[in-house]
């Protein structure tokens, strides 16, 4: 992008808003198009990968302006190849970096040229790792990516024990046509550990073309096999075009999505996600479907289309 930076917007920012603060400039060492960012609320730190220089940058949570990272993980011992995404675990003090066919695990407070403490890698893992999330409550490591299945390339979620290493098999694999995760796989994932929901940003692109199949979906950590998401929001055929980032705000029961095609940050009210006691429920539609209202939406869409054709 023309201008790499981290912008902090107020929670209620809307429409054209300027950020409250920005981390930017040469000293910040940020590269183009970061595909992951984590906020560590326990230690008040921001983690972001730097793909071009094979590094992980850590900023103070209050950083603003042209500031340097407080820590940098970089060097030949790190084995970082394409540090494009990451996740942190503040309970077990670890940092996870998916890197192609492996997941590298570092101490959360690692600094400089440090070796990973363990590596998850091997044919049984089925990695292609793209995005990653940690559930410290249920001690799980969830990886999104894509792989070959039935002769075609398809997206998947791989669920491991958090401390798995070496050539470990995933304990569950969410994959198949009902998942609606095509070859690109999920671009970013988060776990809401309190009740075990996995949020997935899926952009549904073919090549680089938007297909209308994009959505933010929710699976349970107990899901396995060819199962659809419990909920989708923002699509398919919705507002979201290429959702790439996803985060949640527990206090206000919101899900936040960054969309690279809209160049926008979209916030949804999503109380269902936070009110469900546990994701360990059967796929009970009476619990899962809270607000489908498709007929009303379809009506409004038709009105829009009619008005659009009238005006333009």
């Amino acid at each position: 992008m023309a201008h790499p930076r981290i912008a902090a917007f107020a929670r209620l920012a809307d429409d054209k808003s300027i950020p409250i603060r920005v981390i930017e400039g040469q000293s910040a060492l940020l590269a183009r198009t970061a595909h992951a960012i984590e906020y560590d609320e326990v230690h008040d730190e921001i983690f972001i990968p730097q793909m071009i220089a094979q590094a992980v940058l850590v900023f103070s949570g209050s950083a603003m302006g042209e500031v340097s990272p407080i820590r940098i993980i970089q060097g030949d011992k790190t084995r970082l190849r394409q540090s494009d995404r990451l996740a942190i675990d503040t309970v077990n003090n670890e940092l996870y970096v998916p890197d192609g066919d492996k997941v590298l695990v570092f101490p959360r407070d690692a600094n400089g040229n440090v070796a990973p403490t363990r590596i998850l890698q091997g044919p049984e893992t089925q990695l292609g790792a793209s995005a990653i999330a940690i559930d410290p409550v249920h001690n799980l490591l969830i990886v999104s990516g894509s792989g070959r299945s039935g002769g075609s390339r398809t997206g998947h979620l791989l669920i491991f024990n958090r401390t798995d290493q070496g050539n470990a098999k995933p304990r569950a694999v969410v994959r198949g046509p009902h998942t609606m995760l095509d070859e690109g796989g999920a671009r970013n994932i988060r776990v809401y550990p309190a009740n075990g929901w996995i949020l997935v940003a899926y952009d549904g692109v073919q090549g680089e073309n938007a297909t209308g199949r994009s959505f933010v979906g929710v699976w349970s950590i107990y899901d396995n096999g060819d199962v659809p998401p419990r909920w989708t929001i923002g699509g398919p055929q919705g507002v979201l075009v290429k959702p790439r980032g996803v985060a949640f705000n527990v206090q206000n029961k919101e899900v936040i999505v960054s969309d690279k095609e809209l160049n926008a940050v979209v916030t949804y009210s999503f109380p269902e996600l936070f009110e469900q006691d546990s994701a360990r429920v059967e796929r009970n539609p009476l619990r899962a479907a809270v607000n489908p209202t498709p007929t009303l939406t379809e009506k409004i869409s038709k009105i829009w289309e009619q008005l659009a054709s009238f005006h333009f």
Partner: protein, 472 residues
């Protein structure tokens, strides 16, 4: 929790219809000033679709209420306890039977979005008095009259033509060139379409390019050597300069490649060619990693000759940070050839240097120094830790995150694309210090907020400060 029935469909439908009408008209007037933009919005799945306009129902969401079908006043959980089936539960049951998810059809509560073009680059068609600008956030290329000057109280200057839409393959455009003889417009994407698109001067709207060239991914800067009919582009991630025939198309291979640790290319951005003195200038952010080709048959890995070696051959842990620089190369440099000289160091003031242009006659180079909100002018013979010959910077200049620039040597003007304030600004070529622009073209009202959100690949929530953290 029992969802409350707050409004019926019968009541909502006319209200929403009225709101929709107001919103469409308002949106048309406020945010869709360009015809091509309209076409893009309604004929293309890309960019702003119709559905985001449903912010008109936002208050319902903000209140935490949920619109329900008229017969679904009972909560799903109550239904499960024997209160009888509801429409909601029946629809959900059907969804489950059909192996599909329960879709939450609700509009966003909020959306941070800038619908006005944010300029990442600019070129001038001197022969036809037109200015061509890259709207990075709106995936557009906009053509203005060169002599336009947006009045202070005007919302914006209307472009003469706009290219944009899914058929154009314009995607985060950063590189631009205009053919001085034909007026053809060359458009290079930074991300994510690996396509150079060439349009005839009069083209507009959402139409395919007259000519396309497959490019490496993560390109940024574009320069064309008209004298030698060659086309240069920088490749950020892989630290390379790819050179094609100017008329190359389709899957044609580059004719030269400059790449390797000795080149000192490090996250290269802008590129300029001085064909008179046979020089090539490249701005670098200073980030790099090394590749290893030992024992590798490149012909089996790379799609074509002279193609940049990519991250499949990158050496793990070889990444490094260096100071930003301008590397000066022989125009025809290829392979892993060291630069002739490097402008680098604290005296240079380089801070995220982006666009670059060369003035062969005056033997000067101009650098858009993004983070310093300045334009730096160096001697084209400079090297090492040197101060710029001239510095254009200050509150009167209107410079804000300058990303691209162009030298109009016929009219003796310097054009700057300001990523940070929706503007193109024009100065005398010799301007320095805190000089106000001769003219300004704006795509949004003066002082209009610029989100500067570009390719937001991720988001996080700062619970301590209640902030959304958004990287570009």
């Amino acid at each position: 929790m029992r969802p409350r029935k707050i409004l019926s469909v019968e009541f909502l439908a006319p209200v929403l219809l009225a709101l929709a009408t107001i919103s469409v008209v308002g949106y048309h007037q406020r945010d869709l000033p360009f015809k091509a933009h309209q076409e893009r919005s309604f004929n293309s799945p890309r960019l702003v679709s119709i559905k985001p306009l449903l912010v008109s129902i936002k208050p319902l969401i903000e209140e935490g209420e949920i619109c329900t079908d008229p017969d679904s006043s009972e909560s799903p959980n109550l239904a499960s306890l024997g209160a009888g089936p509801t429409i909601t539960s029946i629809l959900a049951q059907r969804a489950m039977q059909e192996q599909r998810p329960a879709r939450l059809d609700r509009g966003p509560a909020r959306m941070i979005i800038d619908t006005s073009p944010t300029f990442s680059n600019v070129v001038v068609d001197v022969a036809r008095n037109e200015v061509i600008a890259a709207g990075e956030n709106t995936f557009q290329v906009l053509v203005y009259d060169r002599r336009a000057n947006t009045p202070t109280n005007a919302t914006m200057t209307e472009p003469k033509r706009v290219l944009g839409g899914n058929k154009t393959k314009i995607d985060y455009v950063c590189g631009l060139h205009v053919d001085p003889s034909t007026g053809d417009i060359y458009i290079l994407n930074d991300d994510t379409e690996t396509t150079l698109s060439v349009y005839s001067r009069d083209d507009q709207g959402n139409i395919p390019a007259d000519r396309e060239l497959k490019t490496p991914i993560y390109t940024f800067g574009l320069a064309v050597d008209e004298e030698h009919q060659e086309l240069y582009m920088t490749v950020q991630r892989d630290g390379a300069v790819s050179v094609f025939r100017k008329q190359a198309s389709g899957d044609e291979a580059p004719i030269r490649l400059l790449q390797g640790p000795r080149t000192r290319l490090a996250d290269p951005h802008g590129i300029a060619i001085d064909s008179t003195n046979d020089l090539m200038f490249v701005t670098n952010f200073g980030y790099s990693a090394r590749h290893s080709t030992e024992g590798v048959d490149l012909a089996k890995i790379l799609p074509k000759p002279n193609w940049p070696i990519d991250n499949r051959l990158v050496i793990p842990g070889s990444g490094k940070f260096e100071a930003p620089s301008v590397t000066v190369h022989e125009r025809t440099a290829s392979g892993d050839t060291p630069p002739l000289r490097v402008i680098q160091g604290p005296k240079t003031r380089l801070n995220m240097p982006a666009g670059i242009a060369a003035d062969p006659k005056r033997r000067e180079i101009y650098v858009a120094n993004d983070m310093d909100h300045s334009i730096l002018v160096f001697s084209s013979e400079a090297g090492g830790d040197v101060a710029p010959l001239r510095l254009l910077k200050g509150s009167k200049t209107g410079l804000k995150h300058p990303s691209g620039l162009f030298l109009d040597t016929k009219n003796n003007e310097l054009w700057v694309a300001n990523f940070g304030n929706h503007s193109l600004t024009v100065y005398p070529l010799s301007a320095q210090g805190d000089t106000a622009p001769l003219r300004t073209i704006r795509s949004a009202p003066l002082g209009s907020p610029t989100t500067m959100v570009g390719n937001p690949g991720a988001v996080a929530y700062d619970t301590k400060r209640s902030e959304l953290l958004v990287p570009n």
